[in-house]
Assembly symmetry: C2
Homo-oligomer: 184 residues x 2
């Protein structure tokens, strides 16, 4: 257990990478972790695009909001994983959304992403989850069919910096007993 | 790395639990893993409700769709964690949603959930992620303020069965190179 606790605690968002390739073996380990993610009714709506083409990485980096500190990461990482989903699978039953939240694939992709990020960290690699970009432009660049969505971009590579942990809420500020029981 | 690979591979959805309490120490380990989850701009929108009250568990189990095989799990597990979020934090900037997906908290809660599920499995506990229930009824039962949402329920306890792995898509069916490159 201590190992997993350390992996979870010591994972950082990495935005600068060494000029060092990520091997096929390592990419396969990341994909293996994705494969074993849980999902809505085991619907496995995920699609993962591994991007190592320089032009594609550049084009995708241009879809980020200008202020995004991960813009260079998307351009310079040896690989970027585009985390995508097929629509109308997760959260649906017989073609109809059956919960309050129509985009349940967001939740399932979060589960997949964390499996990938923890595995990467465990193998000595760094990742940063990018969500603030123009999704429609990225969808076009990646030639996604209409019934798929790209949700996040994940640059992956060997870290070239060691960021300090970001500040975290104390557990007591987000845990409740039996019902929501404190005012914010 | 083999350890994490095994944890990820061997986690199952557990719907039957032993009549055995989950210690405060273990609950704290789960909360610690939640605390160190990544999130949109480190916004940490999560709120976790630990439910051990029998009446609350029963009431929540009644919000599940009738066919849901996890209905008994929500009622009989020693604890159920309600995974909730404050709205308009994740995916927002100065009060405005800044991506195509307004409910980015779904993605962040997926990240948190996987940290909790892996940690639980590592400690010998089982979990099952429940998404198919009446969210508005559950929100009322849990006395959530209007600007919060409950997304999933997570029964947690010592497993009383050992389910086989569910069938998974082969990696080759969900991985693409540089752009979406096969028809479905």
């Amino acid at each position: 257990m201590n190992d997993l606790k350390d992996i979870i605690k010591n994972r950082r968002s990495i935005r600068k990478f060494q000029n060092k390739e990520v091997s096929t073996e390592i990419i396969n380990d990341l994909l293996y972790s994705a494969k074993w993610s849980p999902s809505w009714g085991n619907s496995q709506c995920w699609e993962l695009i591994i991007i190592d083409d320089e032009k594609q990485k550049y084009n995708l980096s241009q879809t980020l909001t200008k202020k995004n500190p991960a813009s260079l990461a998307a351009r310079n990482a040896p690989i970027v994983i585009a985390i995508c989903a097929q629509k109308k699978k997760s959260g649906y039953y017989k073609g109809e959304a059956i919960t309050k939240f129509n985009e349940w694939f967001m939740y399932d992709l979060g589960l997949v992403t964390q499996n990938i990020c923890l595995t990467a960290h465990c193998l000595g690699l760094g990742t940063v989850i990018i969500g603030a970009f123009n999704h429609n432009k990225a969808k076009k660049i990646l030639k996604l069919p209409a019934n798929y969505e790209i949700v996040s971009l994940l640059p992956v590579g060997y870290p070239a910096h060691s960021p300090s942990p970001t500040k975290r809420r104390k557990i007591s500020t987000f845990v409740h007993k039996n019902h929501f029981n404190f005012p914010k």
